[in-house]
């Protein structure tokens, strides 16, 4: 739920509750005041009766008047309490019952007690109250609607810098050279937020760059000692007499240095791709390139009696040649090395995709893990970076790289669009 909706919902509920309560209070107050006024009229009438009786010692003539009725009745008892009360008032002209107010009192004329009932119609008062009530309600509704609309427009405009900062954070990528762009705003909170976010992105990028720099430098610096070890092993091998056991040990050390070298190179290449430090791409005829690669791997294929089924159509890609080489060496190399004797490899190429599928172990690799760095199956002796490199290269050129396992075939697929 958006902040503004949440805010509107709460404020609307509170406003409605307050309006209901104040409405009641308002109604009661006005009603009370107006009833009081009617009561005063009744008292004035009563006093007039008393004054007349005192002067003439007889009951006054009762005239019909609008909205006011006076009735005298002879009473058996003396004790009539003087009370105000609500009653119904019969309007002869309109021929209907209306709300009314009645004062019951008594007067003594020539020793006889008379009950006085003075009734006044309250219909005017009721009209007034209703009138006031509806006007007030109307004003409140108009006001509320206006407030909601204004809030919506105003708040949306006020929050604009916030949404732009948010957009910047969403698009932020540490590997990118450009950080979060500052957003102009004259609201303190947003300016603060903006400043902090911009500064933070700068710090994060700096840290990331120095970390990357460190990885790259470390990998570079390792190359020279590795070169020394490698060259010393080459020199050691030239020493004439040695036992087969010694030879085997030297061989193992040599292999291990080779693995370390490959690992290092892959790390350097990865960081280079991520930093986009690559030479310009060129247009390459992928069909010819793949055919050349297959012939290059001919002996490896023959060694294991692996059959290559090709379904190749012309396809041109714009890519850096070295990266394409890395990619195909890894994909084809994997397809050969993780294959079985008398297995097969299917290669399909068309304008939209390249698919390389091979027989191998009968179980699927973990789709999620297979592209992770340093993931390798238990029998693999590779660096664990091969497919990661392929994935990174694909990402770099906007290709989609997928793995799936179907009908006993491990299929790696690159979609160019």
């Amino acid at each position: 739920m958006k902040l503004i909706d949440r805010y509107n919902r709460i404020s609307l509920l509170v406003t409605i509750a307050i309006i209901i309560v104040t409405g009641f209070v308002y109604y009661l107050t006005i009603s009370y005041i107006l009833t009081n006024r009617v009561d005063r009229d009744l008292v004035v009438e009563e006093n007039e009766i008393f004054a007349y009786v005192k002067l003439n010692d007889k009951l006054p003539q009762v005239f019909k008047s609008d909205g006011l009725k006076i009735r005298f009745t002879a009473s058996a008892t003396d004790s009539i309490t003087r009370t105000f009360g609500n009653t119904l008032f019969y309007n002869e002209e309109e021929n209907e019952q209306e709300a009314g107010r009645m004062l019951t009192s008594s007067v003594k004329v020539e020793g006889k007690t008379y009950r006085i009932e003075i009734t006044e119609s309250k219909v005017e008062t009721e009209y007034l109250i209703r009138f006031i009530f509806f006007i007030t309600l109307g004003i409140i509704l108009v006001l509320l609607t206006l407030l909601l609309i204004i809030n919506r427009i105003l708040v949306r405009r006020l929050w604009k810098p916030f949404y732009r900062i948010l957009e910047g954070i969403k698009l932020f990528n540490v590997a990118d050279k450009n950080g979060i762009h500052p957003v102009a705003s004259n609201i303190d909170e947003f300016r603060d937020l903006n400043m902090e976010v911009t500064a933070m992105s700068g710090r994060v990028m700096n840290d990331y760059q120095s970390l990357k720099g460190f990885v790259e430098n470390a990998a570079h610096e390792l190359m020279t000692p590795l070169a020394v070890i490698n060259s010393k092993l080459d020199t050691l091998m030239q020493v004439g007499e040695m036992t087969d056991k010694q030879g085997a040990i030297i061989s193992e050390v040599y292999d291990t240095v080779g693995r370390l070298k490959k690992l290092n190179r892959s790390m350097l290449l990865l960081s280079r791709i991520e930093n986009k430090l690559l030479a310009e791409p060129e247009i390459i005829d992928l069909l010819g390139f793949i055919e050349h690669k297959i012939s290059e791997f001919h002996e490896l294929l023959a060694e294991r009696d692996i059959v290559v089924n090709q379904d190749l159509q012309p396809c041109q890609v714009t890519i850096n040649r070295d990266l394409l080489t890395v990619m195909l060496n890894n994909l084809l190399g994997n397809a050969i090395l993780h294959n079985i004797k008398n297995g097969n490899i299917g290669i399909r190429l068309n304008k939209n995709e390249l698919l390389i599928a091979n027989t191998g172990s009968g179980t699927a690799l973990n789709e999620q893990k297979v592209l992770q760095r340093f993931y390798k199956s238990s029998e693999s002796e590779g660096s664990g970076l091969g497919l990661t490199l392929v994935k990174e290269i694909c990402d770099n050129y906007g290709y989609v790289f997928n793995y799936n396992f179907k009908d006993g075939l491990h299929a790696f697929e690159i979609k160019f669009q």
Binding site: H220, E221, M223, T224, L226, A227, V228, I229, N230, S231, K232, L233, D234, T235, M237, Q238, M242, T243, D244, Q246, G247, A248, I250, S251, Y254, D255, V257, G258, R259, K261, K262, R265, L268, R272, L277, L278, A279, E296, F297, E299, L300, E303, N320, D322, T325, V326, N329, N330, L332, G333, L337, E381, G382, S383, G386
Partner: protein
């Protein structure tokens, strides 16, 4: 014997361990290998002497190997140049080749690979127009890419041909199986766990040569690698 047996090489490299290994590997068989360990001594040497090939490290104390390369080219010295560098940044490589280096090898490398590359440069640079390598009764025609044993043509596959050239360039040396695999298939493919196919390749090459009447020159050495030698 081949005309290119004796070569004169200068190694410009600040890392003593590597420099000494290269020197040891190159000096045998009458070859001359001189060394320089920093920018100034390297400049001195290249101004005084000519070499068949200069092995040039890019990052040196007090200067860049690329400046040495520029100085060589500015003075029109004909020396072959092979850059050896820990950096394999493509820019660096292209830059070096643009400046006129003949080849580029990234550290770490196999000494046998270095030797083969140097010999290839020396062959390309040689002015006598001799495009043949001769090893006893084996003759390799570099232009036609054909091999003869005592004037009998031997039909070799592309890889077998490359393997033979690699062996001859490193004759008398033990070459590791890794170095052979990397030379033939590049170093990006993980083949460290499988050298069977190298064995069968070498077996085939040896058989073809011997069938044509050559001596048995290829020997396996202590399981580490192979040696091409006539004694």
């Amino acid at each position: 014997m081949s005309f290119e047996t004796i070569v004169k090489v200068l190694v410009i490299e600040d890392e003593p361990g590597l420099r000494d290994s290269i020197r040891d590997y190159f000096t045998e068989g009458g070859n001359i290998c001189e060394t320089a360990n920093d920018f100034e001594s390297a400049i001195q040497k290249i101004n005084l002497y000519r070499y068949d090939c200069i092995l040039l490290d890019i990052t040196l104390p007090n200067g860049s190997g690329l400046d040495i390369l520029e100085s060589l080219k500015a003075n029109h010295h004909p020396d072959g140049v092979l850059i050896i560098s820990a950096k394999n940044s493509l820019d660096d490589r292209l830059h070096g080749l643009d400046l006129g280096a003949d080849d580029y090898l990234t550290k770490p490398f196999h000494l046998s690979e270095l030797k083969a590359r140097v010999m290839a440069i020396v062959r390309r640079k040689s002015f006598n127009g001799n495009r043949e390598i001769i090893f006893n009764e084996i003759t390799v025609d570099l232009l036609a890419k054909q091999v003869e044993v005592s004037h009998t043509p031997v039909k070799l596959t592309k890889k077998e041909y490359a393997l033979l050239l690699y062996f001859i360039a490193n004759k008398g040396k033990v070459i590791s199986k890794n170095a052979i695999a990397e030379h033939l298939w590049g170093d990006e493919i993980d083949i460290s766990d499988n050298f069977d196919f190298i064995y069968s390749h070498i077996k085939n090459l040896r058989k073809k040569l011997m069938d044509a009447g050559s001596g048995d020159y290829i020997q396996s050495t202590y399981g580490m690698g192979y040696k091409f030698s006539d004694h």
